[in-house]
Symmetry: C2
Subunit: 362 residues, 2 copies
């Protein structure tokens, strides 16, 4: 039996990318077709290595070949990716900037930002993380990098900062440049300058995603970052408490304001419930129930999942290693799922290529 | 047997107030001595109704009468109090202003402030609560007062605001005057004016303690409040996480700065551990262990106790009624103990009558 590239493309044109609502061939996602007798191999170029539909799409391709050509073909599918981008992020080499924000402090925004960055990297993407939480930078402690100072070199009279690499991602924190024991009595303009330097004066290289941990609330840093760098979208972190939800709503309102106009990639509900590691069936909704999910529904933005708190009696927090890197448990799984959903939203947004703030949601 | 007032005072002069390190007679704490045959009654005027040593002092008085006069006297002790003050707080009728602050948001600062105010009131004090957390006011939700507006009257061309009374305390929140769905884009000076009005333009009446819930961090509101009103002392709230502790240290640093110079009444460790209501023996140190206690030791300030998280599987938070008012559980007890320790520190500070910032600690 002799098959042709055209037959293969014809067959695969029946496979729709469920998010982008077009077929894989039209989307130019099929490449490297090789035919050797009844052996067929091709690559599917996904829009992100963290694609949550990876398995689904691969199966659909195999089925299409079997159905439209022949079941006797030995199909080898190479699922790969090239992360999409839509606009110039203002940082050379960086395809997408993802802002992580919360209305209220202490809801685990930095934990979500760190695990999002590491989850995307674990899925195969090249990732950077900027900790722009000027009044409470967490990255130095969370990554076990207290007291570290990034290398800085002079180049043509300009300072170049080298991000620190840890656990496979590049990172910079405002905390690397401040004294952890002293309050930071900087006023607005000084803060803005410092934060811009983390983007502009650093050697980020080629990044699929640059995750930015913003301070809680709605302040100078938010305005500076969103007006200086075209942010792809914002992830809003909340806990299920009413007081946190009220503040999250304000945070979302800020990103949707005309002057800022950053798409909301979705809402993450952190500390959704507590589960003792010894009693995985027990769910204690310490801070309320389904608050984040309801908020997402109410504001008609995607819900990116709920992250439980898991601990055992013997544990006592602060390991210096974000949980997504640790052994499998309910938190690790929840964070990986969240990272995939965020990547998916970025891909959807990039594919639509429009700037309307509601594009990520329909 | 005939006893005299002099004998009684002589006997009670052997009883030392353990915190103030002087005897009750010298401290003028014994009043209303009545002698009727072998019946003796007198009042002990404590410096706060929330005195944690109340029982201890009463016993010591009874023992002193028995030991120095006679065991055959029928003693009736009326333990009462008159809350002390040391300086003009800048708010007429208000004896003490207690600021509740945290370095990081989301550590439960507002929960501690609300339960401190209610705990002091439960012990018998007259208490007010100002929610000055401009970017995330929690009092309206925590007290089930969403949508409430305090009455305002004009008096000689000046606005007088009437605090709302609930659960036996008077309260005002910046949230009563802002839209819960909109971000508050106020700049520093506007915030300062609004916060000052909560103190100056409200009819607080006679208060033993006015508890102020400050925003997290170190910002304009802190500077305004501490420089405008002589704050008696600050309670610092933290969780056991390293990232929260690092920020708490900065917060404490701010209060100790010469320009601010507010005594640190102590550190409260909130969310110290999680205990399922069904399994009260299980302690899950979700956020770390003993962080607050160690911080207090390190900075040589009083430790005001650890507040656990208690929940059952059926519960889901946000009851609109602070926990100290709810049925007895480990949280209620912990909050009452904390309120007593705070009142004790205020009394110690007032008794010393000096402004050195380290007075509360020895």
């Amino acid at each position: 039996m002799v098959i042709t590239k055209e037959q293969v493309l014809q067959a695969l044109s029946h496979v729709e990318e469920p998010d982008l609502k077009k077929d894989l061939v039209t989307l130019n996602m099929i490449q490297d077709i090789h035919i050797d007798g009844n052996r067929l191999s091709f690559s599917v170029i996904l829009t992100t290595p963290a694609c949550p539909l990876k398995g689904l799409i691969e199966n659909a391709c195999r089925n299409a070949i079997g159905h439209f050509i022949s079941k006797d073909i030995e199909v080898s599918v190479n699922m790969t990716s090239r992360v999409t981008t839509q606009k110039n992020t203002g940082v050379p080499g960086v395809k997408n900037i993802i802002a992580v924000a919360s209305g209220k402090g202490g809801v685990g925004k930095s934990t979500v930002a760190a695990n999002l960055a590491l989850g995307l990297a674990k899925a195969g993407a090249s990732v950077g993380l900027i900790d722009a939480d000027i009044y409470g930078p967490s990255v130095p402690i969370m990554f076990g990098l207290e007291g570290e100072r990034p290398k800085a070199t002079q180049e043509n009279g300009k300072t170049r900062i080298e991000p620190i690499e840890k656990y496979g991602i590049k990172l910079l924190s405002i905390g690397f440049f401040t004294d952890p024991n002293q309050p930071v009595p900087w006023r607005g303009p000084m803060v803005s300058t410092a934060v811009k330097q983390l983007f502009n004066d650093a050697d980020w290289g080629e990044l699929d995603y640059l995750v930015v941990d913003l301070p809680p609330g709605t302040g100078d840093v938010h305005i500076t970052v969103t007006q200086t760098f075209p942010v792809t979208g914002a992830v809003i972190v909340t806990t299920p408490q009413n007081v946190a939800l009220a503040d999250a709503k304000k945070g979302i309102g800020m990103f949707m304001m005309n002057a800022i106009n950053v798409p909301i990639l979705g809402v993450v509900e952190n500390m959704a419930y507590f589960t003792p590691a010894e009693l995985p069936g027990n769910k204690y909704h310490i801070f309320g129930r389904d608050g984040g999910k309801k908020l997402a529904e109410q504001l008609d933005v995607p819900f990116l999942g709920e992250i439980p708190l898991v601990a055992s009696i013997s544990e006592s927090g602060d390991a210096g290693m974000p949980v997504v890197l640790q052994e499998n448990n309910a938190m690790t799984t929840a964070f990986m799922d969240m990272a995939r959903l965020v990547a998916q939203q970025v891909s959807i947004y990039n594919a639509r290529g429009v700037t309307d703030k509601n594009v990520v949601n329909n």
